[in-house]
């Protein structure tokens, strides 16, 4: 027996929700708007919202100053590959935790999460020295490894919770049919977990993209991603709100667009097993 919803009620919900949604989104919107203003308009009092002479000048300045595409490409590579490798390593681990649990499974899981609690700055010198020894400074490979390790616990945990929701009988049946362990994982389990894997991939891509400590401290030129790009626009001499906004917009736009297009997948899978 479905409850009928009056149009009036729906309208109220719509107005309230849109109001709050726009409020939350406003800082981003304001940044994007400001990026199209001149510096003088950007700090005008009273503030100008939409009716100003839109200019692309700030983007031209930023583009001329920094090789944006290289930063962008590095961000894509680092976030993408670290997440991909993370998932390749995590799938078997999550499988065994989900389907062959032992007494220690939960302990191992929590221990993995606890490795994320080591404050990064405390180990900067050790890691920097190791990177020098291995010749990994300012290399994409080195950073991919670090980012993968940072996010691995989250990946394992997310996959583990998805795998648990898959009924074990299906795997039993596959095994009866003579499927090997490997083909069981690749052909039976993985396809069923695709939504979960997709949202794991997305979430960790975002986390890796936004990681700003290691990506800044272990890179110089070749591997520097957008986090390093933005570090050259904060607090120069003078307050350049418009240029800062343009640089900020350029730094967040790719991930924002990706996030919006894939939000259905992200939302569907982002449960961490919270939904039974």
């Amino acid at each position: 027996m479905a409850r009928s919803v009056t149009t009036q009620r729906k309208a109220i919900y719509t107005i309230v929700a849109w109001g709050i949604g726009l409020l939350i989104f406003f800082p981003i919107l304001w940044t994007i708007l400001t990026s199209f203003k001149t510096e003088a308009v950007a700090i005008a009092d009273p503030p100008v919202f939409l009716f100003f002479d839109w200019t692309l000048e700030n983007y031209a300045v930023v583009q001329e100053r920094s090789n944006y595409m290289r930063f962008l490409w590095n961000s894509v590579l680092l976030a993408g590959l670290s997440t991909l490798f993370g998932i390749i390593i995590a799938v078997p681990a999550a499988w065994s935790m989900a389907f062959v649990p032992s007494r220690r499974t939960k302990d191992i899981l929590l221990w993995m999460l606890s490795t994320k609690m080591l404050p990064a700055v405390g180990v900067l010198y050790p890691i920097y020295l190791i990177f020098i020894k291995l010749g990994l400074l300012d290399s994409r490979a080195g950073l991919i490894i670090v980012l993968m390790l940072i996010n691995l616990p989250i990946i394992v945990w997310m996959l583990y919770t998805y795998f648990r929701e898959i009924p074990g009988e299906i795997l039993e049946a596959a095994r009866m049919d003579g499927a090997s362990l490997r083909s069981e994982i690749i052909y039976v389990l993985t396809p069923m977990a695709i939504p979960g894997i997709a949202s794991t991939l997305l979430l960790n891509f975002i986390l890796a993209w936004n990681e700003a400590f290691w990506t800044l401290n272990l890179t110089a030129v070749n591997a520097a991603p957008l986090t390093a790009f933005i570090a050259s626009y904060s607090s120069p001499e003078g307050l350049f709100f418009a240029k800062l906004s343009a640089a900020s917009t350029m730094a967040i736009a790719p991930i924002l667009i990706l996030g919006w297009f894939s939000q259905k997948q992200l939302v569907r899978g982002l449960t961490f097993g919270a939904v039974k």
């Binding site: 290399s139 570090a231 001499e237």
Partner: protein, 437 residues
């Protein structure tokens, strides 16, 4: 097989990007870490000319000041070898030079004319008589004031004002209803921000950071006088929230016509007199930083300079670049394209002898300010350290950033000046002990 092929593709990609990085490192490309200040950004625009002249390509790593410091310090102490040239200041140069981490710049070419570098700058960028970094631009600090507001207040600014006069003048200029604050000064936490200002100011009040035996001196009357004078004046005539204002915030306030006076870096003079950015460009006057009749003025001395870390494989190329970027030719190149007011100031004597540059309104006052600061003798009482607005010891940055946080909290009214000084004394004593003094 999808996993395996994805893995293969991914590793191939990672591998090729790795080799690309290697190939880069072996051609004649130098990597320069630099700060995102206007003059440095402008130089990046001219890099193509350098590459065309010498065939040496340049990669820039441009970072905000605090991030830059943390980045280059990590690299130099661990001999990471990430950069062929580092942009550092007067604080780092003598310390790093003493540790043997920088390549001495003692064999620069004849045409470069090392002797032309202002002695104050060369002195602050040397250790034991050897130059370790070449100044790209140098600065002191001075008074910038609104001539129209001074006139309206019926006052006349002397070339060498005292603090007493300044306090009086800014009180007269303050007009809260018209949104005009008599004075804007740095109160922001950070040793390079408010910390630098208050330290330079304290010199004119007879204060010092350490006595000859490296004992912290914040329990002295001179420090209490400095802070009380600063806070009283700022509370009466300064902008709201000055405890969070640094160079940028004050620059923007001054350019918007909201400050009667601003005592800050001499390089700001070219910004506040530039009609494109400043609403008050045609009514700015300059004077030396104030004193208290004790023989020391409250101006600092700083240079952003280019240095070659000892770990680099490309010393010759790096030196070639430094000679280009800090030469008189570069100054002329900028002057030809952007006007004399926009050349990097404060580094070379010949610039101030150039009649074209002498016509720039703030040129003489900048030079006078630079000449009146002496890192080797900056305080009334004797000290064991070198530096005007800092003490050139490795521990200083860490101590001063914490001390200036306590000061800022006092400016904001979150604690009294006595409490701030007490904590400053405790922090400094604690840290110096930890460092083994």
């Amino acid at each position: 097989m999808s996993f395996r092929s994805a893995l293969c593709a991914a590793s191939m990609l990672a591998l090729t990007s790795g080799t690309a990085a290697f190939a880069d490192a072996h051609s004649a490309t130098i990597t320069i870490a630099t700060v995102n200040n206007g003059d440095m950004i402008r130089m990046q625009g001219y890099t193509d000319q350098f590459t065309a002249e010498t065939g040496i390509a340049v990669e820039w790593v441009t970072l905000e000041e605090n991030v830059l410091r943390q980045r280059v310090t990590t690299d130099i102490t661990t001999n990471g070898g990430q950069f062929d040239i580092m942009t550092i200041g007067m604080y780092e140069t003598p310390i790093w030079g003493a540790n043997g981490w920088l390549v001495p710049l003692d064999d620069l070419s004849e045409e470069y004319n090392v002797g032309d570098i202002l002695p104050a700058m060369a002195g602050g960028l040397s250790y034991d008589g050897t130059l370790y970094a070449a100044p790209f631009y140098g600065e002191s600090s001075m008074v910038m004031y609104r001539t129209d507001l001074m006139e309206a207040a019926g006052l006349e600014m002397p070339d060498d004002p005292t603090w007493e006069f300044i306090a009086e003048a800014v009180a007269a200029m303050t007009d809260r209803d018209a949104d005009i604050n008599g004075i804007c000064l740095r109160g922001k936490a950070g040793w390079g921000e408010g910390g630098a200002f208050i330290t330079a100011m304290s010199n004119s009040f007879g204060a010092r950071w350490f006595d000859e035996d490296w004992n912290a001196q914040f329990d002295t009357e001179e420090w209490a006088n400095t802070l009380n004078f600063f806070k009283d004046m700022m509370d009466a005539s300064g902008p709201a929230g000055y405890a969070t204002n640094g160079f940028n915030e004050n620059l923007s306030l001054f350019n918007q016509g909201k400050c009667g006076m601003w005592i800050d870096a001499t390089v700001a003079a070219s910004f506040v007199t530039n009609p494109e950015d400043s609403e008050v460009a045609d009514s700015v006057g300059f004077a030396l930083a104030p004193d208290n009749g004790l023989g020391k003025r409250s101006n600092w001395l700083w240079a952003w300079a280019l240095a070659v870390p000892a770990g680099t494989q490309q010393v010759a190329e790096a030196k070639t670049f430094i000679e280009w970027a800090t030469s008189t030719d570069y100054i002329e190149l900028v002057a030809a394209n952007e006007g004399w007011a926009n050349v990097p100031p404060g580094a070379r004597t010949s610039l101030y002898e150039n009649p074209n540059y002498q016509a720039v309104p703030f040129a003489q006052m900048t030079l006078d300010s630079i000449l009146s600061a002496d890192p080797n003798d900056s305080t009334v009482l004797p000290t064991p350290y070198v530096g005007v607005q800092f003490a050139a010891i490795p521990e200083f940055a860490g101590i001063a950033s914490q001390v200036s946080q306590e000061f800022s909290a006092a400016y904001a009214g979150q604690q009294t000046i006595e409490e701030a000084l007490e904590k400053a004394q405790a922090i400094t004593t604690e840290e110096m002990e930890a460092a083994g003094y």
